[in-house]
Symmetry: D2
Subunit: 356 residues, 4 copies
């Protein structure tokens, strides 16, 4: 076997530690060599589990790790773009957690940095980690659509709905999350772009929402349940639902209706293959969170990102698409708060409401 | 057993014949005595099957049938209101097929006629046949919500999606149907009002749509797939999908998410309890049309309508609600065509977009 | 419409009252005219609900009801055969609840009486009420098999499993039920004969069982859970499970595997189309008893029995098959108790274990 | 991280290569160092994929690989025991594919060798690879039963049913497979022992079978479909189905009914979370073979076997249980062919049928 991709993980909170674990133990062609975090306890835990070098400072890590080839950016969303750009400018491969940024402009700046850097590093890979792109069921669905099994895909429905966290942690979190459409529905938007075609052009978005369980979210211009509609040029429409109050667990499902059939992914969620027959009926559990649903996809992501870096092959998604997803997510979030429909012309520019 | 309710059916096309059959053979407390239709062949068929008196003219039927107690209006939508009002003015009970009319104003005129007539006929019953109100699964769902099983219902999703009819019959039909939101989603709107409470007040509606399989629908200002959002005052939101192009069959399902749980009705549609294990996998069929899904509900409707007429008990829904459903359906249809969000104040009046 | 079949019900305990109701109110071509029961309270209830003539004595009913055309025998199993024969000898049509008798010989005596009577009453109909034969899902399964959809049916699995009744009523009931294989599995055996062909010849049966919840059943040579295997001549085998201790409710399901596919009926039981999403997962309820599962089938049974009597058409099953089912059920029950395999030669005679 | 377990795989046919892959790439704490096979092409393929040393001769591998710590025996069933014993006698850890042998006596000889060797190598681990013991769903089911969630487990149903292989490969394979009960149902038997308790004592077995698609199996005293019943002392019973002719794919499912509930595993098989809505209905695919169903379990097996070798912890199953499973499987296979019930006394000895 060839040599292993030298990987560092920036940000080792809950999801960062998982990324670290995937690269350290479940990605045979990668080697985790360093991690960084501003939190010493996190560094200690990573050092203990992986025996890697640890850094309090991201730039110091980039400077010191001479063999470093790839960085996984799993830090707080607010620093995603900045850290990604710094790694990009050093010619490193980057796997950046979603969203690149809660701002379309900042997201675009990462693409710009990448395009500039690629002139000197033509084999450099930078992707945004939309984990569902690596999920076996979504891939099966995509392949069938690409085969024409449902005719022309025309109507998309998708939801990203979190189990209710009674601690209300998500209220504080909402301050920097970009809002529920940017934090949750970004995945559904990415799926819509994947299934309808990356070249799809948004025509309009509309959204409404409520605070059914956490009125305090309004302080951060956010909601705990929201519905959105996206219209694309070319006769395609999408319907979104995002929520923070699912009782049973994580409920992420997607349906695409085409002119000759429909494909549904996870419309009957389940934790595993067990059914319980009890005096109250038949019951099954469902995953408590997105990681319970998508763990295998994250591992595939780590392996495929590693392979495309080492083999200089094309990654399964473009960085441009990630910016487009942020743009749509932000527009939905704006519509959610303003109550106004937002329209775009075919060049992607917003059509301002006529003012007389 | 007491004497039987004397019933006539006006309009005996496909659905009218079914109503006739339900009253003639599956409603022990009713007796079908007459039918009317402008089509002689339909009258002949009904005469043969039920041995009833037949009329080409609706008013003649009302005049001649001295023992008549109740009329089922199952004629073309365009004459629903007119026929209903004529029966109402004679003091007859009326079961009117949905929608009362494709116009909110005309729908309201039926209510007005009923209110006037009731002064002289306090036991008179007039209902609009929202069949799902009589479906065992929807009733189970309603009862659980009424028990508080899901906390406060807050987010509603429902779809009425017809199997694709390759003949394109629905294009001609669209001329008088009132549009897909009035023809199909009216059921979902009625369910939203039922589950959120009849007193719910609509705040806004938005819709988008496409013609994926039948561009000719645009001639009649209609679409073959549409998505809608309804906002209600008091923190409740609803998401609708209506379609004419389902490959597998009728797909009508509903979900209501509350602050403590969710109830789903028919999110895993099926024709019966059979599963087929074939070289291509496991397959089940689903009902081809709404009658395949709701036949038992229609029979329940016939029996309960009969019982409430004979026993002078309260019918399971108000006629006012049916007008409200038409109003919302028409607003969604208008938004679908205009692309504009439509807003209502708390008194139910439309808020006109500010014009400077 | 032609005149109505004049029907009486003998035995109006729980199931008898249901039969009475089906014939009185849900079978348009039948008229319930009389019922009999040794229990005055039952007669009073029937009189009140149906306004029919009532009898304490079965023979008196047969004598007095001069217009009587058909009898539904729904009395205690111990008198099924005797009552059926009396009605048969009067030339009446008979719908006899299962089993005809818990004895193959007595069951056969009903067939003999019927064959004799038919010489004088060639249009006379006598059937044993295997309700599943009238169930839409089982019929769909049968039709698909008849079409060759699964190739040659070869392996059958079926179970009849009752919800645990904590009152233990079934212990006393076991004294006369014929045992769990005769009481419960008789339905599965009938299905095996239907799906494999009425002409199927049993080759051997084996059974084992336990008393997991009601050791007292052993007093009556019965068990609360039992497993059986039936071998048929011609390369077909069947697997049975019967139980009295299902926590969730009635679980009756059937699978038939053929050389080219498999058909499953009710392997995912459900009460209706509702799913509940709760903090403990997703839950659905299932029917509490066989009537919750098969109510519509019983109504179909009443209507089709009525139609075949009035129109002199062939009933959907032969009386011979019912005797065969009892014979197999009794052999399984014997094997359950003795622990010995029981073998039959191709003429249907038992092969005694060689004794040297 | 500590040093890695040095592993060799003996036999690198289809399943052996999978084991090699799991240890080489998906088991972070193991290192695959050698493989052996009598087939040069297989050795070449393994050398190319893993860069390991290759051997035509098993004993030579054991002699030359001085650092070897553990052997995975994945060769033909006929040499499982012999290869296992050779490794055991060298003090190596062994993961032996199922069944240890098709003979209970030979299986026992492996246990005897292990017991002898353990005196000198107290930390030595030898397990038989019952993959389902490592499956997340089966483990969830086990844990719930251990918690008492279904009361006392009493009735077990399980099936191992292969997708029909039209090539008929399994006919030739049957010569050495030990028969369908030893080859397929051994997994179900192992599950019964796990769920009812390893100490469970078999009381009797009965079986019947047919050759529905491959009459040639009779040459090898085998069948393509078989049903079995196992009785255990202490009031527990089990029902088995094994088949080689499933149209849709691998159908392995298990149900355990207890005095207070039931647990079902995989009674609704599926390949992934995708459902296809087509003109013929709703369809899902299922795994084509056991590896499609249990791949993750095999990886867990590799990791847990590695961990228990390195950390000297208790493996999740005893080797004794594997012998017991072979003994029951062989008895079922004998009953399948002889048509006779086989009984055992509580000490595990066969009770011979009384001969006068």
């Amino acid at each position: 076997m060839s040599e292993k991709l030298q990987v560092a993980v920036a940000g080792i909170g809950r999801m960062g530690m998982r990324h670290a674990r995937h690269f350290a133990t479940l990605t045979p062609r990668a080697e985790l060599i360093a991690v960084c975090s501003p939190v010493q306890a996190e560094l200690d835990a990573a050092q203990k589990e992986f025996g890697v070098r640890t850094y309090r400072d991201y730039e110091e890590m980039l400077r010191h790790e001479k063999t470093l080839q790839a960085v996984v950016v799993a830090s707080a969303t607010t620093v995603h773009a900045e850290q990604a750009i710094k790694a990009i400018e050093k010619g490193l491969h980057v796997l950046c957690e979603k969203p690149i940024s809660t701002s379309p402009e900042i997201s675009q700046s990462v693409v710009t940095a990448y395009e500039k850097s690629k002139k000197n590093h033509p084999a450099q890979k930078v992707i945004c980690g939309f984990s569902r792109r690596f999920d076996a069921s979504y891939r099966d669905a995509y392949q069938r659509m690409a085969n024409g099994d449902i005719g022309t895909p025309a109507v998309f429905r998708s939801q990203t709905c979190d189990k209710l966290d009674p601690s209300g942690f998500f209220v504080a979190y909402a301050e920097f999350s970009g809002g529920i459409f940017v934090d949750c529905s970004i995945h559904d938007i990415d799926l819509a772009l994947w299934f309808f075609g990356e070249e799809s052009k948004v025509k309009s978005v509309s959204a409404v929402g409520i605070t059914a369980v956490q009125p305090d979210l309004r302080k951060h211009n956010d909601r705990d349940n929201a519905l959105g509609i996206i219209e694309f040029y070319g006769g395609k429409i999408a319907q979104l639902y995002c929520s923070r109050m699912m009782a049973a667990g994580q409920e992420d499902c997607t349906e695409v209706t085409g002119t000759a059939g429909k494909i549904a992914v996870n419309t009957q969620p389940q934790l595993n293959l067990v059914n319980l027959y009890e005096p109250t009926g038949i019951r099954r559990e469902i995953p408590a969170d997105y990681y319970g649903r998508f763990q295998a996809a994250f591992v595939t992501e780590a392996n495929e990102f590693t392979a495309c870096c080492l083999d200089n092959t094309r990654p399964p998604m473009s960085l441009d698409g990630a910016v487009k997803a942020v743009t749509i997510g932000c527009a939905l979030q704006e519509s959610l708060i303003s109550g106004k429909k937002i329209e775009f012309d075919e060049s992607g520019r917003r059509v301002e409401q006529a003012r007389l």
